[in-house]
């Protein structure tokens, strides 16, 4: 009996210690190299990809701000072109950071505030006319961010001279103000996110290196797949292509007013997703610990080929089939847009590879509930 009690106590003690799932005390060398180092993976993501990405995006937004000030003080066609160029540059950079909707970005809802498209023209015009608007309201999400700027820089009139005329006309001051407010709003939100990453969240993120549905890796992988499935695949291709509604919706294309952008935005987004998979640094070509190396470390050999190689190869196939398309606006004029939908299918094929094979191989939890492995 005493023995039982003794062993029971010991086991319970071990158990009690083990329920603490966020220990980072041991900085010494890992005695068994076979265990994959999740900390190194999270560090690579935070230090070499996410934070540099936000820094770059922040600086692009600063340029956008300067160009906006230039245009609002001297509204002319030349300054409009400068502003448009800064907008495109920032919008393109956004495609590289959009997927990191975790932690600080999730808290402020960065993606919801920066890139909900299509923009709601009626709300935008109402806001400008009334001059009374609170950009923090969720009802204004489709009246701000890049899509609203797209409308204000390309869509409010038929040619450049007429667009400039609006900014110099009777309501010009209100339009100029709105333009500036939109840019400031994006800057404020992004500055918050970057500041949090740089002051504390980075360490929180890296130290939460366990394996549970609330661990950094599990969460970010879920967010990453969600971005791929819902925003890159569906938002940029599936929805405009009519995959979910049965009829082409060219009005839901990204960069609607500027035109000829959605294909390149998609491709930038796809590059970002693949680079993230391979742990490629935001600046330069250095590759660190990544989902790719994690899968390799777990020695997931299937069908004679690495899962990571299969995923990379499907990324490449998808990229190539989209590259071969004309711009999305042209493709969607075909009814049905067969080539577009075929390219979409290649983009779609990545989803089960990420969502089924990768998640299964990494044992990523999707939700906290009891299970008995059936």
């Amino acid at each position: 009996m005493k023995k039982i009690v003794g062993i029971l106590t010991l086991v319970l003690f071990i158990y009690a210690c083990s329920s603490d799932d966020s220990t980072i005390d041991d900085q010494g060398p890992d005695p068994i190299p076979s265990a994959f180092d999740r900390t190194a993976l999270l560090e690579n993501w935070a230090d070499n990809i996410i934070i540099p990405g936000y820094i770059d995006f922040t600086s692009k937004l600063s340029s956008l701000e300067s160009s906006t000030i230039l245009f609002t003080t001297q509204p002319n066609e030349s300054n409009l072109e400068t502003l448009r160029a800064s907008w495109l540059d920032a919008y393109t950079t956004w495609q590289r950071v959009s997927m990191f909707e975790t932690g600080p970005a999730e808290a402020v809802g960065l993606r919801l505030n920066v890139n909900i498209f299509p923009a709601n023209v009626t709300t935008i015009e109402d806001n400008i006319t009334s001059g009374a608007y609170d950009l923090n309201l969720s009802s204004n999400r489709s009246a701000k961010g890049f899509p609203a700027l797209d409308y204000l820089l390309y869509g409010i009139a038929s040619d450049d001279a007429s667009i400039v005329a609006i900014y110099t006309g009777g309501q010009g001051a209100q339009y100029r103000q709105y333009l500036q407010d939109l840019v400031t709003d994006m800057q404020t939100l992004t500055a918050t996110v970057l500041a949090e990453w740089q002051n504390g969240f980075r360490d929180t993120f890296v130290s939460n290196n366990g394996a549970s549905s609330t661990a950094s890796l599990d969460r970010l992988v879920n967010d990453y797949i969600f971005y791929y499935e819902r925003h890159l695949r569906a938002g940029k291709m599936g929805i405009p292509g009519g995959v979910f509604s049965g009829s082409v919706e060219s009005g839901n294309i990204e960069g609607l007013y500027a035109g000829n952008l959605s294909k390149q935005f998609f491709l930038v987004g796809l590059d970002a997703v693949q680079d993230f998979f391979n742990g490629r640094a935001y600046n330069g070509n250095a590759q660190g610990e990544s989902l790719n190396t994690y899968l390799d470390a777990l020695n997931v050999i299937k069908d004679g080929a690495d899962l990571s190689a299969i995923i990379n190869s499907q990324f490449n196939t998808a990229r190539q089939s989209v590259q071969e398309l004309g711009n999305f606006e042209q493709e969607l004029q075909n009814n049905p847009p067969t080539n577009f939908l075929n390219a979409y299918d290649e983009v779609q094929r990545i989803v089960p590879l990420l969502k089924v094979d990768m998640v299964s191989a990494l044992s990523i939890s999707i939700d906290f509930a009891d299970a008995d492995g059936d």
Partner: protein, 468 residues
């Protein structure tokens, strides 16, 4: 009737082990329900979702909106009554019905251990677990002296109960373990250490053993020891010389599974259940200590009376019911043999068979709706209809896929689409194999009827898993 069987059925044993079992069972069930409640799971899993997956034939069992809390409340209250031994039989029946109802509400939540609780509580209805160290016997004893009401014979304190009543619980536990062990005798588990090879490395953050779990030999060791444990532990518990060792093993094994896997209360239930294999003397010590603390009269623990059925006819019916119950328990896990194809792939006959921790299976299912009249087609966003957990479970289980397809058919028909056709593009990965197409994408699921017959629209499994 066989003479040996007759002798066995007429033999008796101390009631203490069954009483201890009753008390622990009640406490653990109460804690389980409290735990479920405190996580907000009643709201999250039963009230918030619009759609629930039903067991075949039980689609009438639905969550009751806000009243679902009352259902859990009733279940928790009956668990307390069981612990106290107050109106034991009524409490046990209430518990069995309310708990089983809860488990039938949505098969997304199906777990083998919930099924175990359901059938165990069914068995307990027929056992005299409330006649020793219980409120029933205490109240009944108080009434013996009074003239107005005589105590019910069924509630009188008895020190001895039929041996088979205790053995039936041991038998049920033995079935659970041995069948779980038999299910592990397959090539994935033994030769490839799957799925532990996938699961264990992700538990790297567990102190002391975390680093070991990434080692291949550890994964094989866990697989083989796990299978051996399940197959032999009931026998080691039954045989006195190995009993203490076996119990220590039970504790270590289940605590380890608790640390490694999210299996809730199950490990504790199994640890406590294993107490029943110990001699009555140990249980009596426990009860005497408790009785002293709560001032339960000692003479009620030493009545030397033998439990007698109130009605011989009812007793015989009970015996028949229990005999049939065990026949079903012994046969049900083999029903998979009646289906063609790989069990792990089709899951036809997978549930209610003690197949636990056997598969790392995940899937992806994208549904395509086609209006049969206009020809218009589009894809469904599953998140519009299902919770993440429902979507996860649905994506690799054919009966879920079919039920959801029917739900989509009805939903889009109600929206005005005509002759709705439902197709699914699905991929499933099993135990580390690359994902392959799961359901025939050319089959219109809107037209398929659910039944117990083989689902021919499941694509064949491209590999072979040898074994039971």
């Amino acid at each position: 009737m066989n003479r040996h069987l007759q002798t066995y059925l007429n033999s008796h044993t101390e009631a203490a082990p069954l009483a201890v079992f009753r008390v622990f069972f009640g406490v653990l069930m109460f804690v389980s329900i409290l735990r479920f409640w405190s996580y907000g799971w009643i709201e999250k899993f039963y009230i918030a979702p619009d759609f629930h997956f039903s067991f075949y034939g039980f689609s009438w069992v639905r969550p009751l909106g806000e009243w679902t809390y009352l259902l859990f409340g009733i279940c928790a209250a009956s668990a307390i009554m069981i612990t106290l031994g107050w109106k034991y039989r009524l409490a046990m029946i209430t518990f069995f019905l309310s708990f089983t109802y809860i488990e039938l509400m949505d098969k997304t939540m199906y777990l083998n251990h919930y099924y175990f609780i359901s059938i165990l509580s069914f068995l307990l209805i027929f056992l005299p677990a409330g006649n020793y160290f219980s409120l029933d016997t205490l109240l009944s004893a108080g009434k013996v002296g009074s003239r107005k009401r005589t105590s019910k014979a069924s509630k009188r304190a008895t020190q001895y109960i039929p041996r088979w009543t205790l053995d039936s619980i041991k038998l049920l536990l033995g079935i659970v373990y041995v069948y779980a062990g038999l299910a592990k005798l397959n090539s994935d588990w033994l030769l490839n250490a799957m799925p532990l090879k996938i699961w264990l490395p992700s538990k790297f953050d567990i102190p002391l053993i975390g680093d070991l779990l990434g080692q291949e030999w550890v994964q094989y060791a866990f697989s083989w020891i796990g299978a051996g444990y399940d197959l032999f532990i009931p026998f080691l518990l039954l045989w006195k010389p190995t009993r203490t060792f076996a119990f220590v093993t039970v504790v270590i094994f289940h605590i380890l599974t608790r640390v490694l896997f999210p299996i809730g209360m199950f490990p504790y239930i199994m640890i406590v259940s294993a107490f029943i294999f110990f001699d009555a003397s140990l249980h009596k010590k426990v009860i005497y200590a408790f009785a002293k603390a709560v001032k339960y009269p000692k003479q009620l623990l030493e009545t030397t009376t033998i439990w007698q059925p109130v009605s011989i006819k009812k007793y015989k019916i009970s015996l028949a019911v229990i005999a049939i119950f065990f026949c079903i328990q012994l046969l049900l896990p083999w029903r998979y043999a009646l289906y063609p194809g790989e069990l792990f792939w089709t899951e036809e006959g997978y549930r209610f068979s003690w197949r636990v921790m056997l598969m790392e299976k995940s899937g992806y299912a994208q549904f395509k709706i086609k209006d049969g009249v206009t020809g218009k087609r589009f894809y469904v966003n599953n998140a519009d209809f299902l919770t993440p957990l429902q979507e996860k479970q649905m994506s690799f289980q054919p009966d879920f896929i079919l039920e959801y397809a029917h739900y989509l058919r009805d939903h889009f028909t109600a929206q005005g689409h005509q002759n709705v056709e439902v197709y699914v593009e699905s991929y499933v990965a099993l135990n580390g194999r690359l994902s392959t197409t799961y359901i025939d994408p050319a089959v219109n699921l809107a037209e398929i009827k659910e039944s117990f017959t083989h689902k021919h629209w499941i694509k064949p499994f491209n590999d072979e898993i040898k074994g039971l």
